[in-house]
């Protein structure tokens, strides 16, 4: 597709429920990032993939958060046993290898997760 596609756009989860958020990056984009954006805040880094390899997961807030990109294209961010503090917009961004910070990453529109 022409852009980064994220689904679902909105997700309401009951506290304790597991959720899976999907990101379809631009075809051929090697680098893929997940960011968490709380209401009224800037995006905060969660994790980074280069192809299928997860090279940096230092931003994942707890072991309830898990991300994968098994074939180097589509990525899934999974949150187990959701808590209210997990409510945020989850953004996915992709770029060609090595040039993202120069030419900018292409962000998806995000998934807004609300935990009730």
């Amino acid at each position: 597709g022409a852009g980064v596609s994220q689904s679902p756009r909105y997700k309401v989860a009951k506290r304790g429920q597991d959720v899976a958020l999907r990101c379809d990056p631009i075809s051929g984009h090697v680098s893929l990032f997940w960011y968490q954006q709380a209401l009224g805040q800037g995006p905060e880094f969660l994790t980074y993939f280069q192809n299928e390899a997860q090279l940096d997961k230092s931003g994942l807030p707890s072991d309830r958060f898990f991300a994968e990109r098994p074939e180097g294209s589509v990525s899934t961010l999974k949150i187990q046993r959701t808590q209210q503090e997990d409510s945020a917009v989850y953004l996915c961004a992709s770029s060609l290898a090595g040039v993202g910070r120069i030419y900018g990453y292409t962000f998806g529109s995000g998934t807004r997760l609300t935990v009730v």
């Binding site: 980064v4 680098s31 990032f33 960011y35 009224g40 805040q41 800037g42 995006p43 905060e44 880094f45 980074y48 280069q50 090279l55 940096d56 953004l91 961004a93 090595g98 993202g100 910070r101 120069i102 030419y103 900018g104 990453y105 292409t106 962000f107 998806g108 529109s109 995000g110």
Partner: protein
């Protein structure tokens, strides 16, 4: 730990006026400073960026001013238009590694006719 501090949190400017957003950073390892623009319901998009060896960069109505010694940089939007109404994030990144971007907290700009 807020690595990139941004102010003001919100800004109202009249059409045709100048919008100014300020940012400061602590980590001298940062060597690339982009600004992102985000419209409601959309992801951020790169607007303009600067390296610290340049004191100013201009692209159309958007100008970044950079003060390396003070570790501060700012975005100026000249002749602000209602279509500029959005949230603006300053950001910073380090060389090498995975090139992740560290964002500021954002400034919500409203340009009124």
């Amino acid at each position: 730990q807020q690595q990139v501090k941004q102010s003001p949190q919100s800004l109202i400017v009249q059409k045709g006026g100048i919008s100014i957003i300020n940012c400061a950073y602590e980590n001298t390892a940062f060597d690339y400073f982009p600004w992102y623009q985000q419209f409601p319901g959309k992801g951020p998009a790169l607007l303009i960026a600067i390296r610290p060896d340049v004191s100013e960069k201009k692209e159309g109505r958007f100008t970044i001013s950079f003060n390396k010694s003070a570790k501060q940089f700012s975005l100026h939007i000249m002749d602000s238009q209602p279509g500029d109404s959005a949230t603006y994030f300053c950001a910073a990144s380090k060389p090498g590694g995975y090139q992740k971007v560290t964002f500021g907290t954002g400034t919500k700009l409203q340009v009124i006719p």
